[in-house]
Each structure stands twice: as C-alpha cells, then as structure tokens.
C-alpha cells in the first residue's frame, strides 16, 4: 500500500483557497457588484469558506462608507456655501486674487482655513511637514514652485509662515541623531530646519525636551522667513514694500495665536534676533 504524501491530496483545496484569495483581494474595490459572485463562489465550496466569506462581507464596508461620507460632505459644502455665494464663486472661477500666501504644516489640526478663517479665494496655501521653507540655492524643490507662482504671478501682498505646538516634524528634527538613517524621507526633509535645531540647542539645552521643541518650533519659523529673503524676487518685493513677511505660531494647547512681522530695514541694518532677521509688531491673541 502506497501512502500518498499529504501534498498530493491538497491540490483541490489549494484551488479553492486561491479562488477565495482572489475574491478577497477584489472586495474593497467593487464590493457591491461582486458580492453576489463572491457568495456563489464561497457557498459552492466548503462550508468553512462560506462562513469566512460571510464574516468578511459583514466587516468590510469601508469603501461604501467612505464614498457616501465624502458625497455628503461635498453636497453640504455645495448647499451651504457654494449655492449661497454663486456670484462670488463665479468670479473666483474666472480668477483668483488672494492677498496671502500661507505656509502651514500638514498636521490635521492646523488647517489655516479653519484656524484663521480664510475663505475660498483669500489664501494661496502651501502645506508641508513642519511648515519649512528650503533655501533658494539648494534643498527639495516642492515648495519653490508655489513661492514662484504666488509671488510672481498672483502677486500676493503677504506671506505668512505659520508654525504650531506639538509639531511632529520639529520633534523628529530635535530627536534625530546627527548620523542617522539617511534613507528616511522624514529625515531628509526636516534637515532643512537644521539651523533652528542648532540654535535651539545652543540656548535651550538645559530645558525639558518639550520646551526645547517649542523653542525650535518658533525659531524655525524665523529661519524660514530668513530663507524667504534669500529668494531674489521675494527680497526685491519686500524691499520696495509690495510684499510683507509675517510669522505666526498657533498654540492649540492654550488656544493662542502669536503673530509678528519681519522688519526688513531692521534686518538689513544688522539688528539680529539670533536668526538673522529683525521683527516688529509682535502680538498675541
């Protein structure tokens, strides 16, 4: 008597498992249409698979929920905002003339439209990790295109760089090793803010880490403002008064907003604040 090795008795089940896996992978994308097929396939095979399929179908309604949710959100916007302001939106559709370029963090808690009440048409907005502005000569390029477009084409009158409390990007900057893993994207980006980290360590290294981070969050804003002045077409407009640079810091722990303006003449004249620029008109709300 020859005992068949276990492997030879599997093939049938193997096919069923493959079919089920194929079906399983298809579920998220077109669940509604294929549900009928799925149930046929599953119930045609072993009862165990059918049970699994049923459990799976009842759990994974994610796709439908997200589509419906997004639809409701958009229709609410259309009804409550768009339709009520049709004239305004028609004008906006032809051209935008925002007075602000806002550079803010991608953090879900700090959308400038929410926090500062910008309405459609008011602010050309760049959002990236830790609201960093790389220098003109070097560094990653994404933000530079937006600077060029907003300043030279749209001719915004104000640039506002907004930082915030508990920033994950700044925290990553402050806690990263000097000789760390250069394969990390986060590392390769936040290193744009290296100078802010150095100046923070120089003056605040005796503070608790959280306070160091807060210091760095604010210093980094000023460094970004300084780097903005390194873009020739930005400096020219600041110099002739058609463009103002502002820094802002949103503290969502205490719900305060601190704001200051770059004093170009003072910066040139040598009144330094440790970050190479002078500021004026500081206020806290």
């Amino acid at each position: 008597m020859i005992l068949l090795p276990p492997r030879l008795s599997i093939p049938n089940n193997c096919d069923k498992v493959k079919d089920f896996e194929k079906a399983q992978l298809r579920i998220p994308s077109s669940f509604r249409r294929k549900a009928a097929n799925l149930q046929t396939m599953a119930s045609g095979k072993t009862p165990g698979l059918t049970q699994e399929a049923n459990d799976f179908t009842s759990g994974e309604n994610n796709t439908d929920d997200v589509f419906d949710d997004m639809k409701q959100r958009f229709l609410a916007f259309k009804k409550l905002n768009y339709m009520d302001n049709l004239e305004h939106f028609k004008k906006l559709a032809d051209a935008q003339a925002p007075k602000f370029l806002v550079i803010a963090c991608a953090d879900s808690r700090v959308c400038p439209s929410a926090v500062l009440g910008f309405q459609p048409g008011e602010a050309f907005t760049v959002r990236n990790i830790a609201n960093l502005v790389p220098s003109y000569e070097s560094g990653p390029t994404e933000t530079k295109a937006a600077l060029q477009f907003s300043v030279n084409t749209l001719e915004v009158e104000n640039i506002l760089v907004v930082g915030h409390s508990r920033c994950g990007g700044i925290q990553a900057l402050m806690s990263m090793e000097d000789e760390g893993d250069s394969r990390s994207f986060i590392r390769n980006w936040v290193i744009v803010g290296k100078k802010a980290k150095e100046s923070t360590k120089a003056v605040a290294s005796n503070l608790h880490f959280d306070h160091q981070c807060q210091h760095c969050e604010k210093t980094s804003i000023n460094h970004s403002l300084e780097r903005l002045l390194g873009y020739p077409w930005i400096e020219e407009k600041v110099r002739n008064g058609s463009l103002s640079l502002h820094g802002g810091y949103y503290d969502f722990v205490n719900c305060t907003f601190e704001k200051w303006t770059v004093d170009y003449e003072g910066s040139r004249g040598g009144k330094k604040e440790g970050s190479g620029i002078a500021v004026k008109n500081r206020s806290v709300w």
């Binding site: 997200v66 937006a146 994207f185 103002s244």
Partner: protein, 280 residues
Amino acid sequence: MAPAFGKCFTFCCAKTSPEGDEMATDAYEAAIKGLKDLLSKKADLGNVAAEKIKELTQELKELDSSNSDAVERIKSGFTHFKTQKYLKDSARFNDLAKGQSPKFLVFACSDSRVCPSHILNFQPGEAFVVRNIANMVPPFDQKRHSGVGAAVEYAVVHLKVENILVIGHSRCGGIKGLMSIEDDAAPTKSDFIENWVKIGASARNKIKEEHQGLDDEAKCTECEKEAVNVSLGNLLSYPFVRAEVVKNTLAIRGAHYNFVKGTFDLWELDFKTTPAYAFS
C-alpha cells in the same frame, strides 16, 4: 514755495515707527538732507517737491493701512475660530492637543479656491493635508522630493491613515502651465514651476495624443484628471504605500473638483496582485 515744502517736511518727519528704527531713520535723514541741499540751491523747486512729498505720504499711509488690514483679517479670523469652534468644543480640542489620528492623507492644490476643509468640510483632526502646485505626488526621490516623501512616510507609517486622496481641480494654473510647456524650449523665468509641473508630463503627452480635437480649456480639464492618475500611480512607487495597499489597510482615491460647474468626481485606484499560479 519754501513754506509749502517746509510744512510737508514737518509732517513727514513726525511719522516714525513705534520701535524707532535707527537704521530706517538714518537712511531717511540722509535722503531729506540731500533734498534740502538741492532746494537750498533751487528754491523754485519747492512747490514741486511739496506735491511729490504729499503723494509719497499718501502712498505710505495706504501701504501701512493695507498691512494692518492684513493683520486685522488674520486676527478676526482667529478670534472667530477661538470663540465659535475651540471654546465651544474644548473637550475635543484638548484630546486633539494630545495627539492626532486622522483617517485621511489629502493632496490638494495650493490654489486659494480649493481648500479641502471647505469643500469636504474636514474638521480639525480629520485630514493630514499636503498642498502644493497642481496637487502633484512625485515619484519616490529622496533628494529632490523629500518634502512629499516625508509627508507620505509620516502619514502612512506613523499616523497610519486609512485613505489617501489626491484632489485635482478646474482652471488649475499649474496644469495650464504644464500643457503650455513647449518641448525642448529654453528654460524660462518660471523654472521652479516648470520643473515641478513636469512631474505630470505623461498626462500631458496622453492628452495631446488622444484629445487633439478638444479646445484648450477642455484639454486642460482632461489633463487635470489624468495628472491625478499619474500622482496615484506615483504613490505606489513608495514601498510603504504599496505594502499597505496590498494588505488592504490603505485605499487610494483620486478626485476632481470643478468649481465652475459645482461638481465633484471621485474614483479609486484598484491595485492588486493575485497569487501566482505555478506552471510546473
């Protein structure tokens, strides 16, 4: 003549900034001295000088008020947010202050008309949002495009978002720029913009080939949507994105917001690998 000039001059002199910028004042003093010297030799220019100084004073006044208009705008926006949203829901905001767990990573254009918080009513804490020209996601590149890479890495690996959404829109200046780039043209003054939007070059090529009969605006609309698809494809060049997509823990969608017609189209990227059949 001289008295008219003298009056204007006194008025100008009185206008110093609260902090008393010494540097500005020095430069200003030097300029005034130069003017005075000239007028002491040519007194008949006094009236002309007076007129010019009045104009300049007016200009400076307007500049100053538009500056304070801007600040007032931000201040009233923040006050409204604080009183109408934050303080009315302080429990939720206190939780958010401790940490964020958004379900969405959203790529949207920097265009002032298409903020996702408005169009899709995202509340604080719901969506990690990256905004750049033409809502582009470049392919994996740790040197040139670490900004986008960092945002995707942070959102997918650390925040563990469940959805990525790339939203294109009508009348996109970036896409229009992309469509009008001539092949083999010399670099222009908008070199940053051009080099950036070229990420969508394959979309432009497709539109130019397949939609030759359309007018420019219609071509741009098609390109706006196709560029979203290019970005969706580029997302898969990030290994950590691909890993989550095949595990079905991350869904990738594209969208197009048309603010001319008031419409919103949404679609999904369907990416799967089937198990291999062994031919043996």
